[in-house]
C-alpha cells in the first residue's frame, strides 16, 4: 500500500490540472498492490490446486465410469465425467468453484479495494490525490477484473494441464461424444474461463459497490456471500421462476454448455448479458457513492 501512495503523484501544483495522473501508472500500481498481498497469492495458489486435487482424486479412486443415474447432482455429474476426460476436468472444476468459492475470492478483492483501503486509512490518499473519482473507480474495477481473469485462468490452466497429464491429448471428448483437436479444446476452455471471469467481475463489481459504502471489508465479504447463498436458494424455488432471470447466478449451471458440440450459445450469451447488467448497475452505484465521499 505504500507503493500506491508513492505512485500516485503528490498533490500537484496548480499547473498540473486535476485528474492528470497517468492512467497506466495508476493501473500498474493497483495491480502491484493487489498481487503483492500474500492473501491474493495464497488464494490463487489454492484455486490452482483445486483442479489438480480433483484430477488426482478421480484417478486414485478409479471408478470405472459413473454408475447409472449418476446424473442427479448437477456439478457431481460433470466431475464424474471428468474422470476419463481431459477436456471436462477444467470446466468441471470451474463450474464447481463458481458456486461459492470463486465469488468468495472476488468479494474478497472487491472488499479490499475500497473498504480495506479505507480501514487502513490509505483510501484518503486516493481521495486527496489529483485523481478524479471516476478514474479511481476505473482503477479499482480494473484491479478486480484482472483478479477475476487470473482466478479463472489459473484454474483453467492447471485443470487442462492436469487433465492432459492424467488422460493424454486424445481424451478430449465433448459431452456430445465428438473427439476434439487440441486447439478446439483449448478454445472451449478459454471461452469457459472468459465467461467465468465475466461472472466473477460482476460479483466483484457488486462487492465494489458495497465496498464504497462501508469501511469494513468483512461487511463486504459477508453481504456478497450472503447474497450468493440467498440467490442459490431462490434458484431452487420453482414458485419464484419469474424472479430467476433477474438473479446473477441464473445461468451459472449452464457453464457445461461449452462442453457440448456444437456449442449452444443462447444460455451463455444470456448469462454474459446478465453479468454486464449487474456490472452496469453496481459500478454506477459505486461511482455515485464514491464521488460524493469526503476526502
Amino acid at each position: 500500500m505504500t507503493e500506491t501512495l508513492e505512485s500516485a503523484p503528490p498533490p500537484s501544483p496548480a499547473a498540473d490540472g486535476p485528474s492528470r495522473a497517468p492512467l497506466p501508472r495508476l493501473l500498474r500500481a493497483e495491480l502491484r498492490w493487489i498481487f503483492r498481498r500474500p492473501r491474493t497469492l495464497v488464494v490463487l495458489g489454492l484455486l490452482a490446486a483445486i483442479p489438480v486435487i480433483i484430477g488426482v482424486a478421480l484417478t486414485l479412486v478409479d471408478s470405472p465410469g459413473p454408475p447409472d443415474g449418476g446424473g442427479d447432482g448437477d456439478g457431481g455429474s460433470l466431475v464424474a465425467t471428468a474422470a476419463g476426460n481431459a477436456l471436462v476436468l477444467p470446466i468441471a472444476a470451474l463450474a464447481m468453484a463458481l458456486g461459492l468459492l470463486l465469488p468468495l475470492t472476488a468479494a474478497m478483492v472487491g472488499g479490499d479495494a475500497l473498504a480495506g483501503e479505507q480501514a487502513h486509512g490509505t483510501l484518503r490518499g486516493w481521495l486527496l490525490a489529483p485523481v478524479s473519482r471516476g478514474r479511481l473507480l476505473f482503477v479499482k474495477a480494473f484491479g478486480v477484473a484482472t483478479f477475476a481473469v487470473c482466478a479463472a485462468g489459473v484454474m483453467a490452466l492447471t485443470g487442462i494441464v492436469t487433465g492432459l497429464v492424467i488422460n493424454g491429448t486424445d481424451a478430449l471428448v465433448s459431452l456430445s461424444g465428438t473427439t476434439l483437436t487440441f486447439p478446439e479444446a483449448l478454445l472451449k476452455v478459454a471461452i469457459a474461463a472468459g465467461w467465468v471471469s465475466l461472472q466473477l467481475w460482476a460479483v466483484g463489481a457488486v462487492a465494489l459497490a458495497i465496498s464504497a459504502c462501508t469501511e469494513h471489508p468483512m461487511v463486504v465479504l459477508a453481504s456478497v456471500l450472503g447474497g450468493v447463498v440467498v440467490f442459490s436458494v431462490l434458484q431452487f424455488l420453482d414458485a419464484l421462476d419469474w424472479l430467476h432471470p433477474f438473479l446473477l447466478n441464473a445461468s451459472w449451471q449452464d457453464l457445461a454448455d461449452v462442453l457440448r458440440d456444437p456449442m449452444p450459445g443462447g444460455a451463455l450469451a444470456e448469462g454474459a448479458l446478465r453479468a454486464a447488467c449487474y456490472i452496469a448497475i453496481a459500478l454506477s452505484l459505486a461511482y455515485a457513492r464514491l464521488s460524493t465521499k469526503d476526502g
Binding site: 465425467t81 456430445s176 461424444g177 449452444p264 448497475i281 452505484l285
Partner: protein
C-alpha cells in the same frame, strides 16, 4: 455540475440501464403480437402439414410437462430439459437431449443410428434398416415435433373437430394454430390439442395438450428457436470417442421377445377415448436389477382401486390415467377411470 447531482444522475442512469437489460432477459422469448397471416382452411392446413417434408433445420426443442408426476429416472423424455435438433432435410438427423449436465446424443447417419450417453460414456450402435423404416424410429418420433404432430393429426381427424384458431409466434416465426377439439361424445380428460404450424414451411413447431379446467398446457413440446438452412455434414456423422463403451444393439430380438411374452397390446375403443390394454411382462414387475423399483415407484404414485374387473393400482395425471392390475394387465388412456375399468372388463 454539482457533484451530488452528477452522482445521482450516474446512479439513476446506470441502474436504469442495467435493470432494463435484466428486464429484457426476463421477457420470455417468442412472445409477442399474434402475426397477421392470410386465412387458411383447416383441411388445407392439415393437408399441407402432412405433405410437407421437413427442410434442413437446426433448432432447440423444449419439453414442458405439468403432469404432476415426480421425475422418473430412466425415462429421458420426461426428464429432459431441452434438446437440440439438427436435420439435413434428407433423413439424417442429430438430436442432443440435454439432461442436467449430461447429454444424450442420437445421430442418424443413413441407416445407422448412434446413441451416445455422456453420463455413462457409452455409445450404442443400431442398424435402423433391419428394424423399421426410417420414420418409425421411436426416439426420433418422440423428439421431433414434426413427426409427432403429423401422426396425431391424421389419427384424430375421425373423432375431432379440426379448426384453425388464430395465429401465434413460435420461436420467432409466424404460425397458424391448428386446434383439435374432441367431439362432445368423446369421454376424455383432454380439452384440446393445439398444434402451431409454421406459416411458410408448414412444419409443426409446437404441440400443446390442454386439459379440462386449466389454462396452462399440461404437456408442451415445441421449438424455442429454429433456423432453417443447410447444416454442416459432419453433424450427421458419429465416431465413438476413445474409451467409450461401445455396444451394438440388436433391436429386433429383445423387443420381439418381450412383445411375444407380453401379448400384443390392443386398443379398446377409438378416437379420444381409446384405451390401450395389454399385459406387462412379469419380470418387469418382480424386478430385474434396473427395474427393481417399478412396484415401489408405483406404490408412491398410485392409489388402490378395485371393481368387477379385478383390483389394481391407479395412476392418474392431468392428461391421462393408467391402471396396473394385480394380475399384470395394464390399461392406459387419456380418459377418466371409468372408461379404463370398462375396457379392462371387456377382455
Amino acid at each position: 455540475m454539482n457533484p451530488k447531482r452528477k452522482a445521482l444522475a450516474v446512479a439513476v442512469a446506470g441502474t436504469a440501464l442495467g435493470a432494463a437489460g435484466l428486464g429484457l432477459l426476463a421477457v420470455p422469448a417468442g412472445a409477442g403480437e399474434a402475426p397477421e397471416l392470410p386465412p387458411v382452411g383447416a383441411q388445407a392446413l392439415v393437408q399441407s402439414v402432412l405433405e410437407a417434408d421437413p427442410p434442413a433445420l437446426a433448432g432447440t426443442v423444449a419439453f414442458d410437462n405439468q403432469l404432476g408426476l415426480p421425475s422418473m429416472p430412466g425415462v429421458p423424455m420426461l426428464d429432459m430439459d431441452s434438446a437440440r435438433v439438427y436435420y439435413d432435410g434428407e433423413g439424417d438427423s442429430r438430436i442432443a437431449v440435454q439432461d442436467g449436465n449430461s447429454e444424450q446424443t442420437i445421430v442418424r447417419d443413413g441407416n445407422t443410428v448412434w446413441m451416445y450417453d455422456s453420463a455413462t460414456d457409452t455409445a450404442t450402435k443400431t442398424d435402423a434398416r433391419s428394424h423399421h423404416p426410417r420414420e418409425e424410429n421411436p426416439q426420433g418420433r418422440m423428439s421431433d415435433p414434426a413427426a409427432a404432430a403429423a401422426d396425431l393429426v391424421s389419427d384424430l381427424r375421425a373423432s375431432s373437430t379440426v379448426s384453425v384458431d388464430g395465429t401465434a409466434r413460435v420461436a420467432g416465426r409466424p404460425a397458424y394454430e391448428l386446434v383439435l377439439t374432441p367431439k362432445p361424445e368423446e369421454r376424455t380428460l383432454l380439452r384440446e390439442v393445439r398444434v402451431a404450424v409454421d406459416s411458410e414451411s408448414r412444419l409443426p413447431l409446437r404441440l400443446s395438450v390442454l386439459t379440462n379446467g386449466t389454462t396452462e398446457p399440461a404437456l408442451q413440446l415445441g421449438f424455442t428457436d429454429i433456423d432453417f438452412g443447410a447444416q454442416p455434414a459432419e453433424l450427421f456423422e458419429f465416431t465413438p470417442p476413445r474409451g467409450a463403451t461401445v455396444t451394438e444393439a440388436e433391436p429386433d430380438v429383445e423387443g420381439a421377445r418381450d412383445a411375444a411374452r407380453a401379448g400384443e397390446p390392443r386398443l379398446v375403443g377409438e378416437g379420444w377415448d381409446a384405451v390401450l390394454v395389454g399385459r406387462v411382462p412379469a419380470d418387469v414387475l418382480s424386478g430385474g436389477e434396473e427395474d427393481g423399483n417399478v412396484r415401489g415407484m408405483l406404490d408412491r404414485l398410485s392409489t388402490r382401486v378395485s371393481g368387477d374387473w379385478g383390483s389394481g393400482q391407479l395412476v392418474s395425471t392431468s392428461i391421462g390415467t393408467a391402471i396396473l392390475t394385480d394380475d399384470g394387465r395394464f390399461a392406459l388412456g387419456a380418459v377418466p377411470q371409468q372408461v379404463l375399468t370398462k375396457a379392462l372388463a371387456t377382455r
